[in-house]
């Protein structure tokens, strides 16, 4: 059998060039998609972030003014920092809550013998439900008069709350909905659990470890790469939360101002309002790049400081 180089030398001249051509043709659709729908819009947004633009007239170059005004001018952007703080609080509550809920569900599903597929379906349903329906359902569940949540709390003697209209409760209430929608994280955790060799668990049992010890000393450390992946992607998603708050607070045709006292005015909702309601597309583009940089920093920090190897 001839070796690679010798064989290649006998092929027709130009064949290598043709291989390249075919390669390019094969990636062309993906490349075209990338350039047209990702790269071009992103670069345009970067350009427009340095302009004053209302979508209708020609954009005028203002340099770094949008960035400076967003960060320092609280007359033009009175709720910018509020939206930053709302988003950070949401992320800090929603991400851990989602991970805990997903892991708990995955552990239960992993343990269940009969009807696992049914439970998997039920736990995954919230993910595939349309956002508008999710909003409508939860507005009803959180209703101060008829809400199921308050009814359930009442059974254990906790007084009912006006969840979506009390500024302090808005973020926990939203985070709880996010945790309810943890199905995708749950599936990934479940895959992680299935990947832990049974022999390790058996060895722990033989060594006399109880269920609690087995979880903390074997299962959880073995899931560390999964947890790290879910943490990083979860933080990125939480920092960009939009659809949920939009549907929760825009019911009955009301204009979206982000809930009582802007307590649910998340960063991307704020960005959306400036882009499409207050005619400041340039500032909105600047906001999106501030968010991009922030997400990059947070992600880098996580890679630096969070343990990601399985123990």
């Amino acid at each position: 059998m001839t070796t690679g180089p010798g064989r290649r030398a006998r092929r027709r001249p130009g064949a290598r060039h043709r291989d390249h051509l075919i390669g390019w043709l094969l990636v062309a659709p993906a490349l075209a998609y990338f350039v047209i729908f990702l790269l071009y819009p992103a670069l345009s947004a970067l350009y427009y972030s340095f302009t004053d633009w209302n979508l209708r007239t020609e954009a005028s170059w203002v340099g770094l003014a949008n960035y400076a005004d967003l960060l320092f001018d609280d007359v033009k952007y009175p709720h910018f920092w509020k939206s930053v703080s709302v988003t950070l609080q949401y992320t800090l509550i929603a991400v851990p809550l989602t991970l805990v809920a997903a892991l708990a569900q995955a552990l239960l599903l992993n343990a269940v013998r009969r009807g696992a597929n049914l439970f998997r379906l039920l736990l995954f349903l919230p993910v595939v439900t349309a956002e508008a329906a999710v909003g409508a359902i939860w507005r009803w569940l959180y209703d101060p008069q008829y809400g199921l949540i308050n009814t359930l709390l009442g059974l254990v003697g906790i007084p009912g709350q006006n969840w979506l209209n009390t500024p302090e409760l808005v973020i926990p209430a939203l985070a709880f909905i996010a945790a309810w929608q943890c199905g995708i994280s749950m599936i990934i955790y479940l895959a992680g659990l299935k990947g832990i060799p049974g022999s390790i668990q058996e060895a722990a049992v033989i060594d006399g470890a109880g269920p609690w010890q087995r979880f903390w000393r074997v299962t959880f450390p073995m899931l560390r790469p999964t947890t790290f992946y879910l943490l990083v992607t979860g933080v990125i998603a939480a920092l960009q939360v939009f659809g949920l708050v939009y549907v929760i607070f825009s019911g009955n045709g009301r204009s979206v101002t982000g809930g009582p006292e802007q307590s649910g005015l998340t960063y991307v909702l704020h960005l959306y309002l400036f882009a499409f309601r207050y005619d400041a597309m340039g500032a909105a583009c600047a906001m999106s790049f501030i968010l991009l940089v922030f997400i990059m920093i947070v992600t880098a920090l996580q890679f630096r400081f969070v343990r990601q190897e399985a123990a």
Binding site: R56, V75, D143, Q145, S250, G253, S255, E261, R277, Y278
Partner: protein
């Protein structure tokens, strides 16, 4: 029979398709397609009205096809903004009143051609919402306003003044602690939109846009906000924050517009409610809303587009069209479609309705400054005076006004 029908439809489609191809640029508007953007139909009947008017217009203008594109109201401005930015705006479309001056000032829409309409035929208030810099940039299609909805079981006679309103609300709540007297508007964009109508009811004003003066920190406006604060005593939030408190019989009164009348009647047939003009302090007043229609600067069929808009708002069609849009006619001679007894209250309210300030940044002031100020007064974090003084200061800074 049915096969014959199918064949007929196919032939008709082919013929009309050929006609559309052949008639391109055939002069006199023949073979032209006109695109018109509007909000999605509120009711199936509204869709039928628009379809009827469209067919009438096409009959009166042979060779013209009107393509009506219906977009959900929540997405409309976003889609329109994107279309304008990408130079693919329709020929004509509906435009929310406060946007007309913005679009006019940057040349996105065309001025109404001289002689298209007789301005004296239209309600002045509605027509004025189309003006910018003294020129007319659109035609109104409907006008609307908000009024007081009251539950007849709890409120036999609607209050006329602020004092009566407070008394009635207190009486209702005293009789049953689980029922709120009034669904007081909240400090959100919607509440901030309704607030000026209350301020006018005390003889106050939000701004004097000619003199560039902010007036909503003056005593009359502060009294209006204080009214809402006082009403909360008999109208706890934990009741009124529930879903549809008025419809469910948990709030005896609420403020809303004619668009809610058919919805309530359909979904809550057992609710016995009436509509009355807004209670006032010194003079009857309210605020005006509604839809205007404009022709975009990029349209290739501008004459035809204006003809279509004038057709929609003329004496013959405007009654039905305005009703389809959920409001009242803007043409003085248009027939007001016979509606329920609620209609009288809205029509009376319209006579005293004030247009919102013609300040291009008003939407932002409404959402970002006035709404939070109302909320902080309603939740007791500031007095009405403190909240409005603070908001007025912010508004002056944002708009660059000194007064």
């Amino acid at each position: 029979m049915s096969r014959g029908l199918v064949r007929g439809v196919v032939v008709a489609a082919l013929v009309s398709g050929l006609a559309a191809c052949g008639g391109d640029d055939g002069g006199q508007g023949a073979g032209k397609e006109l695109t018109f953007w509007m909000y999605q139909d509120r009711t199936p009947q509204a869709g039928q009205v628009m379809e009827r008017v469209r067919q009438d217009f096409e009959k009166a203008n042979p060779g013209v096809t009107v393509k009506i594109v219906k977009i959900p109201k929540d997405d409309y401005n976003t889609k329109l903004g994107s279309a304008v930015a990408s130079k693919s705006a329709p020929d004509a479309g509906i435009l929310d009143q406060p946007l007309v001056s913005k679009y006019a000032l940057d040349g996105t829409i065309k001025e109404v051609p001289a002689g298209l309409i007789d301005e004296a035929d239209y309600y002045k208030g509605a027509l004025d919402t189309n003006r910018a810099g003294g020129k007319l940039y659109g035609l109104p299609q409907d006008q609307t306003t908000v009024a007081l909805f009251y539950n007849r079981k709890l409120v036999p006679t609607p209050p006329k003044t602020w004092d009566e309103l407070k008394q009635v609300a207190a009486r209702v709540h005293a009789a049953d602690a689980n029922v709120a007297g009034m669904n007081v508007p909240k400090g959100d964009g919607y509440g901030a939109w309704m607030f000026p109508g209350i301020v006018h009811g005390a003889g106050g004003e939000m701004v004097d846009d000619a003199g560039k003066k902010v007036l909503f920190d003056q005593p009359l406006a502060v009294e209006a906000l204080q009214l809402w604060v006082d009403l909360q005593e008999s109208s706890p939030r934990k009741i009124t924050d529930s879903d549809k408190p008025f419809e469910n019989g948990l709030a005896a009164m609420t403020i809303s517009g004619p668009w809610d009348v058919p919805t309530i009647k359909e979904q809550f047939p057992d609710l016995d409610f009436g509509v009355a003009p807004l209670p006032y302090k010194t003079e009857p007043a309210g605020n005006i809303g509604g839809e205007d229609s404009v022709v975009f600067a990029t349209s290739k069929n501008q004459d035809l587009a204006w003809k279509w808009l004038a057709f929609l708002s003329d004496a013959r069609n405007n009654g039905a069209v305005a009703d389809a849009f959920g409001g009242f006619p803007v043409h003085l001679k248009a027939q007001v479609p016979a509606g329920g007894p609620e209609q009288a209250a809205f029509l009376e309210q319209l006579k005293v309705a004030h247009a919102r300030p013609a300040v291009p940044q008003w939407i932002q002031v409404n959402d970002e400054i006035i709404a939070p100020a109302i909320e902080s007064a309603l939740t007791g974090k500031a007095t009405a005076q403190q909240a409005l003084t603070d908001a007025a200061g912010k508004t002056r800074s944002l708009l660059g006004w000194n007064g």
